[in-house]
Symmetry: C2
Subunit: 343 residues, 2 copies
């Protein structure tokens, strides 16, 4: 591993001072440095494959081209990794790197994470939640540039980027209605998650808009077995048997299909099923492939970074003024698990 060239090396080779090198390489050469020297510096830099040492730069400028990301849990969920992926790519495109720390839902660890990151001179912070929720900003964040991804500040002081759950749920419900279903039941997630309530709202709104009776959602949950149990209950006891099921998420939908199958029912012939998440390991590969609502994880990551980049670049934000809460679209992904109801 060869020693990296420094600005001194470039200056020596070009026969100028380090100041001149710095000026020219930072685009402030014009009017300050003679054209010949500029050319010499550029050539020398090229030849030595020079790029400034980021650490020295950081010490000098108190910036680091690094963004600190704190998450409450990276590992679980899987598709939530797309959020980091989107953030990482967008950041890299602008020369930024991500320093990510997982607080494991531990508030204390979270405070420490922000402090650690701050001491490393990160230029901004993202707090990303693995499932949608309110986030009470850590006091250590005040005065910093920060964006929230998949969570939001109840006080509205921090910019946040969240999925438009209500609209997503509406389009799922609408798709079922437009496919001819009238007996539609929602198998919802656990009440502790704000997504559950939002999706229930969307469901109810769309049914009401279609002037269809709104049935109360059936409490299920987020995992395969929960979807299984709820579907078993609904499919064997509801009279008439529902022909369309809006399910909490794709995993629960696996359970629903499993339950239907074990009852001798076929999806989508006897019952149509629609999931949520567009879980890449599930939805495109289910039998039948799953019609679902996609969560904009990648987009949330990208948008949060972009917001940070804009702020770092000097976009003005009136202090104390409420920050944006941006709702990102949850597109409906149509596959094979929804059909027309038998008449």
């Amino acid at each position: 591993m060869k020693r990296r060239a420094t600005s001194q090396d470039v200056a020596d080779l070009a026969g100028v001072s380090r100041s001149a090198v710095s000026l020219v390489l930072n685009g402030r050469g014009q009017g300050n440095i003679s054209v010949e020297k500029q050319a010499a510096i550029l050539a020398a830099a090229e030849e030595l494959d020079y790029s400034p040492n980021p650490v020295a730069l950081s010490l000098r400028t108190r910036r680091s081209s690094t963004i600190g990301v704190v998450t409450d849990s990276i590992a679980t969920a899987g598709f939530a990794g797309q959020l980091l992926q989107g953030a990482s790519e967008r950041a890299a495109a602008h020369g930024y790197l991500l320093l990510v720390i997982d607080s494991q839902h531990d508030r204390l660890a979270e405070e420490r994470a922000f402090e650690t990151l701050g001491s490393r001179q990160v230029d901004g912070f993202i707090y990303a939640a693995m499932s949608l929720r309110a986030y009470e900003p850590s006091p250590g964040l005040s005065g910093s540039i920060v964006a929230l991804a998949n969570c939001f500040d109840p006080a509205g002081q921090l910019a946040s980027f969240v999925p438009d759950e209500v609209a997503g749920s509406r389009s799922a419900t609408r798709h079922l209605i437009e496919s001819g279903h009238r007996e539609i039941v929602m198998l919802t997630g656990t009440p502790d998650m704000v997504a559950s309530g939002l999706r229930e709202q969307g469901f109810a709104q769309e049914l009401a808009a279609a002037e269809l009776p709104v049935r109360p959602p059936i409490s299920a949950g987020w995992e395969i077995d929960k979807g299984y149990a709820a579907a078993m209950h609904v499919l064997t006891t509801f009279e008439p048997r529902p022909t369309g099921l809006v399910v909490a998420n794709d995993r629960a939908a696996i359970g629903v299909v499993l339950a239907a199958t074990s009852l001798g029912l076929s999806v989508p012939r006897d019952v149509s099923v629609i999931g949520y998440d567009d879980d890449e390991n599930v939805a495109p590969w289910m039998v039948p492939t799953l019609t679902t609502v996609r969560l904009p994880h990648r987009e949330m990551g990208e948008a949060a970074i972009q917001h940070l980049l804009d702020q770092i670049g000097g976009a003005v934000q009136t202090p104390g003024a409420p920050a944006d809460k941006v709702f990102l679209e949850c597109p409906l992904i149509i596959r094979d698990s929804v059909g027309q109801p038998a008449r």
Copy 2:
């Protein structure tokens, strides 16, 4: 956000020079600085809540307490995030942070990633693959401290940490045999993945050890639909019908259970199913819960970091000597999808 205290602040408050502060805070005070001054320095540092600026430290020492991680894809897989999780925690416990870059399986992006990371003065590198494979070391890595996680260097020059796939597959197969199964079929993954071959080996070895006939594995794949199709084929055409199925992974096992169910077969009463991965979103929640072999993702991440830490700390490694290839255990997780065969 208050200005952080510097060593100068501490020196001023304690009435000594910065050198003294540095010496004492780095544990080299004894025999160099008088006891009283040591106490004064410690007290001042405490009062000012002083900790050295990592950026300045990094410029000075050419170390950064940061480890560069390059992965071929973080996002997909989900449970693979556990690798990063394990690495991140182990690193944090030693004051190290992770700078991770995803190359998206692009070799060029990978080279660039190592370069970027190197210029940021990382103290070591991890290359982590999302699925087990050979990894041809990037030339930019030579001379650096590096560990491979979930991949291995064919030339054996780089330390690597991989799952013991053969043993994992053997214990899955053994579990079926010990449960009384004699008609056992393997539904294997795609041939391009080295895990497929390794698991097939384990399967064959264990069958041979039990003096049972070894049937050739049935090619399936890693996704739900592939498991479904393969199971459909095997369950409807094999005579006698197999009572035990060793499946490529947990997702494919979902498809297997789905297929069995749609054929009116019950798991595990009519057919026992065993997965691979212990996918946390699948195995514990399947109906029935899935007996499976756990992939040591977290352990690979931890072990790789630990290796780096040891090397950074000065553990000697004879240059040119073959590095360790460490096989991490894949424990069998017994749940409800395996039963005794009907007689």
